[in-house]
């Protein structure tokens, strides 16, 4: 059985065989650096993406070096070497490295040992001394020794900028179907091809969209493209813009980076500010497969300076209106037969037919009877199905006007304006204007009892409930309270008279008739 290369660190152990290994506050053996050994570049990207989701890469990048290494026994590996902070941060690195199919080691210089695990909660120390070769990194695990020789180094900033974007789906119905508008809800950057710049500006100006923009030369393009910034853009406009070839919508992911919608950078750029050096603006374009580096920070100009105004006329205020000229337009509101069928809202019952109403009242359903109102007039008794809704919610169900088969029916042409059935007011003015023309108050009704008569104004206090008017008054007899002849039997209440000090006088002496049983006696 081979000898173990590592031995677990004991609790409280402060001296280690491996140089550079110290114990932290929790007693965990930790070196100056950590080394993450990853099998491939893909695992490296996964590791960086996962780490940027949880923590900020800005803490890692300043001390991080990426190396492509060759293993002594054959094979390649990607090594991440960075300074180690506290044990908690290394724990997180170890967890993420395991997730990315890698392994984390701690140590310094050229020798690293395995990070702590369940069997060795305080970490590992070397069991035997190791001597690394030239340009060689040795990682010591429990049961094997890995020797890596660096072949070339990679710049992490360069790597992150060169990573290929990954497509993400856009909702089928367009950007507007996404409640977050694909990250464009607050602000959208629009990169417009040079040939489309004017048309897009015209469209957005016509839509009165708040915008700002400037022309930027991208890469080796001969003409400058237009970069627009839209604050809180409308979903409809984004839908239109996203479907136009030559226009790219970019969602800002940090103050200096924007990614085209429908694509995602493998690394959270918001947590990798240090990966975007300088003050340049980076546009990650997915469809074009390019990363545009704009010179300097974007200097947006307000949209009204980007458009050309071609309006040559000026608005002029009205000088004076001619009232008198409208006199020739004045027409008379007349009643004429109409073909439009309306639900009868009232009936006018002649007084000789009123006795029939008494019988018909029994047939009315309770809702219709409760809602019905009557107005006694000289021409007859008007039964309103209900006080007009007058613009409010209309009552449902059949009204008394429809249910009563007698009398002349009135239909409602405007709220509270009733005309004989089969007639209408001409010209057909607006209902509110009709009430205004008739001079009706808020709750008033106007009744045209006949086509050739003037309307009658009915005030709300003149409406009487039908049920209260027709139902005879009931006489109630007062209940006679009978006083019971005999007093009631109750429950007695104990009250105590004052006892004198000699209350038991007479109970103390011996009985006169001889001895008695114990506990019984009388004085």
């Amino acid at each position: 059985m081979p000898n173990a290369l590592l031995e677990p660190v004991a609790a409280g152990q402060t001296r280690f065989r491996m140089q550079g290994l110290v114990s932290d506050a929790r007693g965990i053996a930790i070196g100056r650096e950590v080394l993450v050994v990853l099998p491939s570049i893909d695992a490296l990207v996964s590791f960086l993406g996962a780490y940027s989701d949880e923590a900020s890469l800005d803490d890692l990048v300043p001390t991080m070096t990426l190396e492509q290494a060759q293993r002594s026994g054959g094979g390649h590996a990607t090594l991440i070497r960075c300074g180690s902070g506290d044990g908690y941060a290394v724990d997180r690195l170890a967890r993420l490295a395991t997730t990315a199919r890698g392994q984390l080691y701690t140590g310094g210089g050229a020798v690293f040992v395995r990070w702590r695990e369940r069997e060795a909660p305080f970490g590992y120390d070397l069991a035997v001394a190791l001597q690394p070769g030239r340009d060689e990194v040795i990682v010591a695990d429990v049961d094997f020794l890995g020797r890596y020789t660096t072949t070339h180094r990679m710049d992490p900033v360069d790597l992150i900028q060169r990573l290929e974007l990954r497509p993400v789906p856009i909702p089928l119905g367009g950007v507007s179907r996404d409640p977050e508008l694909c990250g464009l809800k607050e602000m959208a950057l629009v990169l417009v091809a040079p040939a489309l710049a004017h048309r897009v500006l015209r469209y957005l100006w016509r839509m009165e969209m708040p915008m700002a923009g400037y022309y930027a030369r991208l890469g080796n393009d001969t003409q400058s493209s237009l970069l627009l910034r839209l604050r809180q853009p409308r979903a409809r406009a984004l839908d239109v813009l996203s479907q136009v070839p030559g226009i790219e919508l970019l969602a800002p992911v940090s103050s200096r980076a924007a990614v085209e919608i429908g694509w995602r950078h493998p690394v959270q750029l918001a947590s990798a500010q240090s990966c975007l050096p300088g003050d340049e603006m980076f546009l990650f374009r997915g469809r074009a497969g390019r990363v545009e580096r704009l010179d300097g920070p974007p200097r947006f100009v307000d949209g009204r300076h980007l458009v050309e105004s071609t309006v040559g006329v000026r608005l002029r205020e009205i000088g004076q209106m001619r009232d008198g000229d409208l006199e020739v337009l004045r027409v008379e509101l007349r009643m004429r037969p109409g073909a439009l069928a309306r639900e009868p809202r009232a009936v006018v019952i002649d007084w000789d037919q009123v006795p029939m109403l008494r019988h018909l009242v029994y047939m009315l359903p309770p809702a219709a009877l409760a809602a019905a109102r009557i107005v006694p007039l000289e021409q007859g008794l008007v039964v309103l199905a209900a006080p007009s809704a007058l613009g409010r919610a209309t009552p449902t169900g059949l009204g008394a006007g429809l249910l009563l088969p007698i009398g002349r029916r009135l239909g409602e042409v405007a709220p509270g304006v009733l005309v004989p059935d089969g007639h209408e007011l001409w010209p057909r003015v607006r209902p509110a204007l009709l009430r205004h023309l008739l001079g009706l108050q808020a709750e008033d009704h106007a009744l045209y009892l006949a086509p050739d008569t003037d309307p009658i104004r009915v005030r709300p206090e003149q409406l009487r409930p039908l049920d209260a008017a027709v139902v005879g008054r009931l006489a109630l007899e007062d209940a006679a309270i009978v006083t019971p002849d005999l007093p009631a039997v109750g429950v007695g209440t104990i009250r105590n008279q004052r006892l004198s000090r000699f209350a038991l006088w007479g109970f103390g002496g011996l009985p006169a008739g001889g001895p008695r049983p114990v506990g019984e006696g009388e004085g």
Partner: protein, 398 residues
């Protein structure tokens, strides 16, 4: 309390019956009873007669009541003396403890009455004792700096009650309160003096009382109906019926067991005398044995079954499912309708087997369902026990 019959009747007896302020004062001596008994026969107390009648009408419309006699007067005086033991001024009375024991003995003498043999006497006893167990106690609550002080109400005191004058009065039921030991003992004597009260309020009945002592009432249809309705009015009718059965079953006299053969037995064969008598032999002399007439026992059982019927008619027969935890008396009470097939020949049927008209049909159906429900709930052993102990005493073998 003035040593005057009229004052005693006016201040104690009439308020006790009518429900007013019952004044408790100086204890009364048995010698007073003898003196007042003669006066009671010759003096008319119309108010007393009226309130006796009114309280009797709580049971029946036209109760037949005997004139107040020597025994009833002693009962009133005993009840009065019973309350003296809880008088708030008891501590200030100059008397030795032995004197209070003599007063207890004298009170027990007053309360010890012969068992009533007829219905009017039973009712007359119940008038006083029934009103007595319902008494309230007036208490004065005096707010002080350290909290409220409750004390029994008495005549206006000379000290701080009058000076403070801020005490409010409250009436609380007297019987459920904590009592002096003498009161606890005498209360049982008072209840034994009124078998009808023990029958109507079986939960208050003292140990040893039996419903057979008042069974003569249940043999009359009108009084039996009054008793059944009084039971049905009580809050927990099942507990009430169970208490009646609990009191009834132990009081049934045991059937005389055949004595073992004295000669030639196994115990004396070898010349060895057994230390204990053989099984079935009496270990001691029996106590007071209540005569158990089959008709009296049948009347009690029939009344309890009628209580079931009343509750079926009231739709109040929600018999709980936790019968396993119930007392044996309650189980025996619930098992009574299941004895009807055996008792019907003697006691009759509460409802006809077949409804005579449409009005009676729902009642018959509900009663049948109720009996079936009881048959599912009550253990069979309870029914068999009753068949062995009760049914045989009512239904005489042909």
């Amino acid at each position: 309390m003035a040593r005057d019959l009229r004052a005693f009747v006016t201040e104690f007896v009439v308020p006790l019956l009518a429900g007013a302020d019952v004044w408790v004062g100086k204890p009364l001596r048995p010698r007073d009873r003898d003196e007042w008994a003669a006066e009671l026969g010759g003096t008319s107390f119309p108010e007393l007669d009226f309130w006796r009648l009114r309280r009797g009408q709580l049971l029946a419309a036209h109760p037949e009541l005997p004139a107040p006699d020597h025994d009833e007067l002693g009962l009133w005086m005993g009840l009065h003396n019973l309350l003296v033991f809880e008088h708030p001024d008891r501590q200030r009375v100059w008397a030795r403890e032995v004197t209070w024991r003599r007063l207890e003995g004298a009170t027990r003498t007053l309360l010890t009455l012969p068992a009533p043999e007829d219905v009017p006497t039973l009712v007359a006893r119940h008038l006083s004792v029934g009103a007595f167990v319902d008494l309230m106690r007036a208490e004065v609550i005096v707010p002080t700096a350290v909290g409220e002080i409750r004390m029994p109400a008495r005549e206006p005191a000379r000290r701080f009650l009058r000076a403070g004058g801020a005490g409010r009065e409250q009436s609380v039921p007297w019987l459920p309160q904590n009592h002096a030991p003498e009161v606890e003992r005498l209360l049982e004597d008072a209840l034994r003096a009124s078998p009808l009260t023990c029958l109507l309020r079986p939960l208050l009945a003292p140990a040893g009382s039996s419903p057979l002592q008042a069974a003569v009432m249940l043999r009359e249809r009108g009084w039996a109906r009054a008793v059944c309705h009084a039971w049905a009015r009580q809050k927990d009718w099942m507990t009430t019926g169970g208490a009646v059965m609990s009191a009834l079953l132990p009081s049934l006299p045991r059937a005389p067991a055949p004595l073992p053969a004295a000669a030639g037995g196994a115990g004396s064969a070898g010349g060895v005398v057994a230390a204990l008598p053989a099984a079935g032999a009496l270990l001691a002399l029996p106590g007071a044995v209540v005569p158990c007439d089959p008709h009296d026992l049948g009347a009690i059982i029939a009344s309890l079954i009628h209580l079931h019927l009343l509750k079926v008619l009231e739709l109040d027969t929600r018999v709980g499912l936790a019968l396993g935890s119930r007392e044996p008396g309650v189980l025996a009470f619930l098992a009574l309708p299941l004895l009807l097939p055996q008792l019907a020949s003697e006691l009759g049927e509460p409802v006809p087997a077949v409804a005579s008209d449409a009005t009676a049909a729902p009642v018959v159906r509900r009663w049948t369902e109720y009996v079936d429900h009881l048959a599912e709930l009550v253990p069979r052993s309870v029914v068999e026990n009753l068949l062995a102990t009760v049914v045989g005493r009512i239904v005489q073998p042909a």
